[in-house]
Structures are given as C-alpha cells and as structure tokens.
Subunit: 330 residues, 2 copies
C-alpha cells in the first residue's frame, strides 16, 4: 500500500477495499465486520446498524440533493438487510459562511425522505468549521433498522440462486458527472436516488425468501457483483443484454469513456433469490421499475469471479473497478 | 437568525442551541429529540443511541488524539445515559495525501479505547476527498449502548438532588488552545479525554440511583449546567470554591482572558443524585479523581438559571457561553 491516501482509496473499488481491510478491519477485527454486509446485524439478529458519510458535490443535483441522499443512503443499507429503517442520527459538519436557506432546504429533503422510510432522527451533532476546513457541508447519517426477514446475507448466495437487478443503471454517477462538468444533457437524466425500503417491503410482504440484496453505490454494479462473488465463493454469470442503460447514460459513457457498470447508483439494487422465487420477485420489482430484470445466474465456472456473456456471444470477466473513479460522488 | 452559518453556531453555547432548535429540531421534531439528552433512549428504554463528528485540530495533542477522542466522545454520551457502550460505527472523511501511518496511529488509538469500553466497531464508511475539500481527517462515531440503569434524564432533576463534578475543569480546551497557538506550558497540562464508562459502572454497581449525568464538552461546565437548569426547570446554585481548576489551566485562562467554566472537557462530567446518595457518590468519584466534589444544590430561586456563589460571598449568574469559543475543539 502507498504511504499516503489517494483518491482511489475512496473509489468503492479495489484500492478502497484494500484500505478498509489493511487499516480498519485489521484494527477493529470482529465477527460482525468480517461479514462485510451492507449493514451490521446486531442484537441476536433483530436489528441492523449502518453508517455513511456524504460529501457529494454539487449539493443539489437533478433528482435529489445531499439531504435526500444522506437519508436514502443509510436507509437503503438497512433495507438491503431486510430491515425497516427506524432510528437515524444526523451529524453535520458545516463550513463557516454556509447559507442557512440552503441548510433548511437540505434538512427539509431529509425529513421528506424520513417519512417515506417511516424513520425518525433521534440524535444529532452540529460542527461549524472555519472557511477552508471543509467544502460546504458534509452529512453523516447512521441508522438502526428492525430486521423483518432474517438470514439475508451476501455470504450465502449459491448455485440455487439467480441474480436480479432492480432497474437501469448508472443514473446517479452520470448525473453528478454531467452536472460537475457543466455538460448539458437531456432533461430526462436524473439521479436514481430513492429509498428502497418500499420495494423491499413488497418483496417481504409477498413472502419472497431473499438470499441477498446489495445496492450498487460507489463502484456500481461491477463492484457489488464482485463483492458477492468473493464473499459467497461463487461465479456470477451475467447476461449483458439484460442490463438496461438509458440512452442518456450511454451517451455520457461514450462521450467520456466510462463503463456504465462501474457508475454509482443510489436507488438501484441487486437481488439474489432462489430460482423458484425468481419470476415472482421479478414481477414485484417490475411494478416499481419496468427495467427490472433477471440478469444472471450462479455457477462454479470461475469462483470469486464475475463473467459477462455479451450480446455477441463472447465472454469476459467483469473486474472490480480500480483507480480514481469520481471523488465526492456520494 | 443570521442568513449564513457562523463559527458561533458550532460553539456548544447559545447560537449553537438556536441553530439546532430552529433548523434541525423544527424539521425532525419528535418526542425523543425533544428530550435533548446526551443520547437518545430507544427500544422501550433498553438502548441508548448517540452520534458525534470529530474535527479537532491538531489531530494529535497532549493526552489524546482524534481517534481516542472519537471513541471517548460517543461512548461517554452513552455512558451519561447509564448505558454500557456496545456497538460503534466509524465513518471517516480523509483528505487526499493524508499519511497512512498517521491513519494507522489514529485507528490504533480508537481500538485501545474500544477495549476500555468493551465496545466494537461493527460498521464503517471511508470517503477520500480531493485536497482542499477537507482539512486532514474528520471522524464520525455513532454508538449503541445497553442501558444498565433506567430513568436517567436531564429533565428530572429536582430540589431533592445535589450536583457533583467529577474532576478539575478545562483541561481539554486549554490543551488544544495552547497547542494550536504554540504556547509552551507545563508538561502537566494535558487533555482530560477519557472514557467515562468505568466510573459510571462503579456508581451503578454500587447501587447509586442516578438522577442525571452530563459530560461538559463544548461550552464546558457553564453550558451543561445551564442546559440542566432549563431542561429541569430548576435553579442550580454552585459553590465556586468547590470547583477545582489546575494551575496550568488557570494560567492559560489569565493569559488569554478565558473563563475556565466555559472551556471544553472530554472526560469530565456533572452528576445529579439525591441528597441521601451524595456522600456515597462523591466517595466513588474520588476513587477515580481526587478533585471530584459536591459543587452545588438545586433551589427555586431563579428558575432556569445557574447562580455562582463566589468565594467572597457574592452571587452572580453563570450565563450560557456565547460567541465564537474555539472552533474545531472536538
């Protein structure tokens, strides 16, 4: 590992994993952290617990703002463990000179999104730091959720499962990039930032037995699938033509040489369910987004690897993203 | 309220309270937040939940570093509700170019302090932001504690109670100030940064029935006492000569015109207990620090106010600190 932290260490990909395992997991080592789930499962499997800090720039963008993102991000991590978001903390670090009106808009967005999740902020902290110590505002949200379906884990996906994707990919990453670079794209492009608890609740209410869920945030679908392949010691084979990318996102990817599969999402998740449940699960997902689809299967072809079967019949590995993707994407 | 955020909005004093109530509490309004405790009490009174973000500069100082402070700060908020710290999250925002060796030292300090609390980090997040977006490293810790003694609340102090202080005051604030200003003081001056769970556990194990506890962080003993007076609708009368300030802290206060009672502490707390329990509680506190003492009583003389009875027999109000105290103190 290098002697200083680089932007790549926060990319959600390979260097990020290395920093986490060599510095944080090494010092804090325990059974719960070792599981590397979206949220920690505590109190005998009854509660989920997860944290996220948000540093996105710009603070306001098509489809959301840092406040909505901060509530969705943490609530979604809880929802991915089959949990109903219940209590959140909200800790802000604000730069001296920040506009109170902007702060009020951000906090109002948070409150709207809390209502969707049926959660409340029960503890907070406010730090104000001198100009230049922080750029604008950073928000940490940490949440506790009540687990509605137990046993969901990224470590227990098997060849009995199929892989579903909840919608088209890359909207959040493409939106932030376009906004930051001043690229004028179709007004149809906006962040996918959404609370996932409602769709997770539908799956659970309909009795779908979920093997695993993961929202494809930093590092995108590539990072999430590779994490699953490694954690469950499986090979995931994806059918490329089943993955929907909007024209707007595709256009930006072609313009700038991005890989849509590595772009961040903030309201898009992967679902692993038993083959027998897959059609029913797909139907439920489609009621939320028509682009939801069964995208792949689990095999033993190359353990810990993700294989893409392209539309033209070729195969390639889908690698864990590396390098500096896009800092301050979330 | 002004239209932009000022450093005074993060001072732990009056402007800080105004920002919290007018922006955050207003939007997030709920019964738990309304109680304004050091930690939220959730799950039917069984768990405490609290968050804090740490932005202290310098990162390393006499007696502690940002890592130790981050674990102590959150665990102490839990301990102040009579809770045993159990699970923590750790979310870091790191500036590109930050030294990995420094990060390892910080994380190692955190782990040492976790052991003292018997707590573990079960969820984390790592963001790396470009140079200039943040100064060094910010750490958020959010914790869940198991409440060992129920009913502790800053809203239920009455004239049946007396007020104790666990040690001499102002060491953290004085240390950070001296270090930042390059003032060379006696090597005896160091931050009081300490985990308070061991002393709280002793009180509970010895059967002391605690009315309230509050650690006197930003805004110091002045802010904490005033919060209690307001929350419990009481008058607190303090005997000035019972409050110990070390020669080192006193020297710095005289040099720079500070009020020791408003200096931040990070391992010093106020305790309210029934008169009948007070001597026993004082004895227990003294086994941890010889400067612990009963410092005052509760009356109805001026509700929501704190009165200082000086060594020379005069009386004055102890006001809530206002203005820009010392940004990035914690």
């Amino acid at each position: 590992m290098t002697k200083t932290i680089t932007l790549a260490h926060g990319n959600g990909g390979q260097e990020n994993n290395e920093l986490i395992s060599k510095v944080f997991y090494k010092a804090f080592k325990n059974d719960i952290l070792d599981k590397s789930e979206d949220a920690a499962v505590i109190e005998g499997g009854t509660l989920a617990f997860s944290t996220d800090s948000f540093t996105v720039t710009p603070l306001f963008f098509a489809g959301a703002d840092i406040g909505k993102l901060a509530v969705c991000g943490t609530c979604n991590d809880l929802a991915m463990m089959g949990a109903k978001p219940k209590y959140l903390t909200c800790s802000v670090i604000i730069e001296e000179g920040f506009s109170v009106e902007k702060l009020e808009r951000i906090v109002s967005s948070m409150q709207k999104e809390l209502l969707i999740n049926g959660a409340q902020v029960v503890s907070g902290d406010t730090k104000v730091v001198p100009r230049g110590s922080v750029d604008g505002i950073f928000i940490n949200t940490t949440g506790i959720g009540e687990i509605l379906q137990r046993g969901i884990s990224s470590n227990s996906i098997s060849e009995d499962d199929v892989i579903l994707l909840s919608r088209d990919i890359g909207c959040h990453g493409a939106t932030i990039f376009a906004s930051r670079e001043g690229i004028e794209l179709s007004s149809a492009l906006k962040s996918d930032c959404t609370s996932l608890f409602p769709v997770v609740k539908s799956l659970i209410d309909e009795g779908v037995k979920i093997t695993a869920m993961r929202d494809a945030t930093r590092g995108g679908v590539s990072a999430a699938l590779n994490e699953w392949a490694r954690q469950s010691n499986i090979c995931i084979e994806i059918d490329e033509k089943k993955i929907v990318t909007s024209d707007e996102v595709m256009g930006l990817c072609e313009l700038l040489g991005f890989e849509a599969m590595s772009l961040a999402n903030e309201g898009t998740f992967l679902l692993a369910v038993n083959k027998e449940e897959s059609k029913r699960a797909e139907q439920i997902l489609k009621t939320f987004n028509k682009n939801a689809s069964i995208i792949g299967k689990v095999t033993d072809k190359h353990l810990k690897k993700v294989i893409i079967n392209s539309a033209w019949g070729t195969q390639r590995f889908l690698d864990v993203p590396t390098g500096e993707l896009l800092p301050r994407i979330c």
